[in-house]
Symmetry: C3
Subunit: 324 residues, 3 copies
């Protein structure tokens, strides 16, 4: 099991920015490549007033601030340089859809999609779309939102694939603005199945890939959810990846790189559930040798040792002693 | 718009200490100098039981702990070495003035001012005073406290300038001991004007410079407050600077370096409001190449690129693509 | 006063993991050695489902996850290499004893103790035991738990010493999952004495060393507690060390390295209370030159300067100006 892709956390809404310039990003794509990552996914092209590229649509309609850098252009160029696929994450208003105004979120994003495709669609690394409105349950008209946006993405781009990455309403699904790391009760497998049957039924043929976040449930419960997600996705014809989070949800400090042992355990659980592709949220803060969090660089080294072990088909002990 | 000054966050009451010795501080003053900073402001000379220099007044009266280092002496020497101005921040009892005992806070500080001027007043870098009791609104006898302390500072020092740096009671004015980053309602421009008319009227001719903190209001509201602060200060004859905070108030982790884009936006807003001088809280944690937060070093690099751009009067795109 | 020992924070339950491999741990033991540390104490061999070595007892009984590395083996080898003593920390179920099922916690741990001694008892660095169930007050059958576990440790190992490290229920005894750093009321000296008389009476002849954590009380109250702890321990025949915490409990961000001035103050208070040995929680995150928290490396440098000062019996000012 390898991590094939990572999110690019721009615009972040809860993780402090690293203030990298182009040199740092160039180097980071190199580190990703060396770790076998071939796909980068922009987590969102904008959030409320902040945006990753100077969108005329958003500046006119939402009064977003003109950004000092065109990150979309830069990411597309770097992805091309390193032979990677770039997925474009849609705009998240942070309000319309969360306040029930789903059609406003959809209409606005359709215009962003048109603008983006006109502006960047010719660039060779542009290989897919990511619907950035994160959900966990069937609420309101979220199914319509997913389906219409995904269809519009595919329509303008000759069918490029569309990815979503929902979370599971598990016991670790708590706000980043509280200090607790767990809540009393998570969703049951049965309720999760009911919700996602209905969602998958509504978005099949529009959304291509679903990569559930793997950090919201207890480790003991994860296998059950991974298996259910895989079998449901199979049934409705979606590809099932795992979004194996590389930050640690169990700590009172929010958010730091995960312990390698936990990441390894989650990847192995996904593999045993029949899942073949992993992406992660996200490389540059939590796994990069140049991350501001030095724990990330050590996680990178542990992960490279693991890749080495897999390659040598050596199931014994490595120099650092871990087994796979 | 350039940052001309920075606070020195000793004694900090909420940001973890970096444990620097003289070598690290010497190097940091060099980094500041290179970034155009010519003024350093001691945020407070003491807080509750902790102090930056061995004050006989405070040890006798408050039982403060004898510090292992005389930071005031060291800062004055380094400021002289690098050709900078040093502003001395008064003692904050953390109790008398917050419990309504304003005259005790004033009397104690007057004795500290006398002691400090006797001890360090001859040093060439000693160029001003900072009243460290942070306020936002007219409450209690705060006007008297500001005016009497400022007058005493000027009296003993042949009129050296006195600086204050209040905050605005905006939606981001929340305790650092809660995880929320916003509250429901911030102060209105009108109420802010009413409060500060009264305060400015009471402290004019005593306080010379006011540098409001710029981090407590929404970015969309900042311009309004900057303009109001500038015009009020002009009216009452105070210099108006901006305290452009270099840490990010929008994140659940408290406190990390700000995203360059946000700092740039705030500096530009202040410039457009007619403000000519910026100071920041604060360089050594949030902007220094040797900060324990590596995001700070990248912020430093982005800021130096920006200074380079200004200098070359090049309004196009730099290597890293930002515009000014 | 020197720090003779440090905890090894594996398995951590609240401090983010550094993801070190054997090379980093080897280097860290070298840094410890250079700072005069001769004792390493595994904080706990397991916590809930996570463990430091592949315990057949725990995997069978508790369904713990098989760890990728045998940390106990590695620590014992490194301790031997650097001439240090290793203390083994017992398993903390995180449930039985906290839910009143003391005998289950005891029985399980007795089997772990047997397993561990059989597996690692022959290794030369194995020099003691640490009972990892942290307490502050006499609650439930905690005395029996301490006494029976300690006795079992000594029985299997020909009397190797047993250490405990309780905390004091002071005003800073607040959950790491709340943002407050203090609570309204801490325990009184009298109540602390009453509780610990009863506990010491029950565990004397079983537990050899008690090292109270020094971070939960106000600095002004610490001397009183240190003196009381020392005299009580003397009375009941236990050795009294201090666990001088190297992280800062006064900050809203949890947990960062402590300010050197505070650590120095606490060590001096302990020394004046007649205590001769200090251990710390813990070196690798909060004091190591290779810690992910760069403040830690500076703390290390300040501490080495302090050792240098002690050695030279120079009570004047060092290059960085601190006094001892």
């Amino acid at each position: 099991m390898r991590i094939k892709g990572t999110f690019l956390d721009e615009i972040s809404h809860d993780i402090p920015h690293q203030n990298w310039g182009r040199d740092e990003w160039d180097r980071d794509f190199g580190y990703m490549k060396k770790a076998g990552i071939d796909t980068v996914i922009l987590i969102r092209s904008g959030y409320r007033k902040w945006q990753t590229f100077p969108s005329e649509v958003l500046m006119k309609s939402e009064g977003t601030y003109r950004p000092p850098v065109d990150l979309v252009q830069m990411y597309l160029e770097l992805a091309e340089k390193y032979g990677m696929s770039f997925y474009f994450g849609l705009y998240d208003s942070g309000k319309y859809w969360t306040e029930g105004k789903f059609s406003q979120e959809v209409d606005l994003n359709k215009r962003v999609i048109d603008e983006v495709w006109t502006k960047y669609g010719h660039m060779p690394a542009f290989k897919g779309w990511y619907v950035s409105q994160e959900i966990s349950r069937k609420t309101g008209q979220i199914i319509d939102l997913y389906a219409s946006l995904a269809r519009h993405c595919k329509d303008v781009s000759e069918g490029l694939p569309v990815l979503i990455s929902p979370y599971i309403d598990g016991i670790k699904n708590v706000s980043q603005y509280v200090n607790d790391t767990t809540k009393a009760k998570g969703i049951s497998l049965q309720q999760h199945e009911n919700d996602w049957r209905e969602i998958f039924d509504g978005i099949k043929n529009a959304v291509d890939i679903v990569a559930f976040q793997d950090g919201h449930v207890d480790y003991d419960d994860l296998t059950g959810f991974l298996q259910l997600n895989k079998s449901l996705a199979d049934e409705y014809g979606l590809e099932c990846w795992t979004n194996s989070e590389t930050f640690d949800r169990d700590m009172p400090i929010k958010f730091m790189p995960i312990k390698w042992e936990k990441l390894l355990l989650k990847l192995q659980m996904a593999e045993r559930a029949g899942i073949h592709n992993a992406i992660t949220f996200e490389f540059s803060h939590f796994m990069s040798p140049q991350s501001a969090y030095l724990q990330a660089g050590h996680l990178y080294n542990r992960y490279l040792e693991y890749l080495e072990l897999i390659k040598s088909k050596n199931n014994g002990f490595s120099k650092t002693g871990f087994t796979v």
